[in-house]
Amino acid sequence: MDELELLKKDWNKQSEHKKLSAKEIYPMLHKKSSSIVKMLFYISIGELVLWILINCIPYTFSDAYKQRIESIYSNNYLFAALTVFGYGIILLFIYLLFKSHKAISVTDNAKKLMESILRTRKIVKYYVIYNLVMAFISMAVGSYFFIFHSPELSDSISHLNNKQLIIMFGITLGITAVFVFAIWLFYKLIYGWLLKRLNRNYKELQKLED
């Protein structure tokens, strides 16, 4: 006999877990969910806010920084265009993030639900990559201007020989790599912890369709 048929016969006879009364169910409706979608939502909001703060705080609170930036971007139109572009990208990400969060529906089939959660996570990932790339470019452009706007520094650099220049370049590259690696590790840990089970189950479902 089919073993599962035997199990099936028994399945509905299983002793019931203590049946909950309506009185016990009511308070449950108002408890806080601890689902991964909620966690993901908070993390993405945190992500948005964090990077906006990183971009804005030095500019808002430090007059010296503001002046420096403004002197670098002596062309005001370029500065305005870059600012508008930056905010435009942030708004675009906010829009995409909310749209994909709204698309997560627990009443979809299992595979579709997993896919919409993974899509949301991907948007956060792109947002972070965008910010890292921008941070990298700003750092590169910033140091270029810093060096060439500061006479002492450009003077001392011109005295360096090729070997010293390469070492300096190497050190800068190393520091940047460590910085990017640390951020990458941080995300890997957060999302790895949050989505480990989802990823495993999604792979399992995909395997079925191969």
């Binding site: 309506a22 689902s35 627990v106």
Partner: protein, 164 residues
């Protein structure tokens, strides 16, 4: 606030709660974890309730939300022991000691069921709940053919456990 939907929801849930208990029993292995998952499924059902249209049966709808919560949304608490992969060796050892009584056989089966991975568990669960393959495939988002193939594989796995 209008209490009417809340009232009708609780009434329906109270009536069909055994479905959720069965999901919890399959995906958790102690009392606290069971209650945790039950709570989360209830929250998810309640959140999705405004979108529930009477055109599908409440119980059918519960299967989907219940399984989705168990497989995807629920973050296992520390109190829940993680699902292990299917370990045939372990079962062979267990099966050696079993005698032929039906009760023992069932015990071994439940044991095996608990060690299937999350997706296999969901398939077996729907099968045990007498869902046909079209419903299984719709709930899981896989094709009907693949659901059938997978179910047959699970059956073979279980057979091996019982008749090593």
């Amino acid at each position: 606030m209008n209490k009417e939907p809340e009232h009708s929801f609780v009434e329906l849930l109270e009536k069909h709660q055994n479905i959720i208990h069965k999901v919890c029993r399959l995906y958790t292995n102690n009392y606290d974890a069971h209650n945790d998952l039950f709570q989360e499924i209830t929250i998810q059902l309640w959140k999705a309730y405004p979108k529930f249209r009477g055109d599908s049966k409440f119980s059918t709808w519960m299967y989907r939300v219940g399984l989705n919560t168990a497989i995807t949304l629920y973050r296992k608490s520390k109190r829940t022991i993680a699902t292990q992969g299917f370990d045939g060796v372990e079962f062979k050892m267990k099966a050696e000691t079993y005698d032929d009584t039906e009760e023992q056989q069932l015990k071994t089966m439940y044991n095996a069921l608990h060690q299937l991975n999350d997706i296999d568990k969901a398939l077996v669960f729907l099968y045990l709940e007498d869902k046909d393959y079209s419903e299984i495939s719709e709930t899981m988002g896989i094709s009907e053919v693949n659901a059938r193939v997978k179910m047959n594989r699970i059956k073979t796995k279980l057979k091996t456990i019982l008749n090593p």
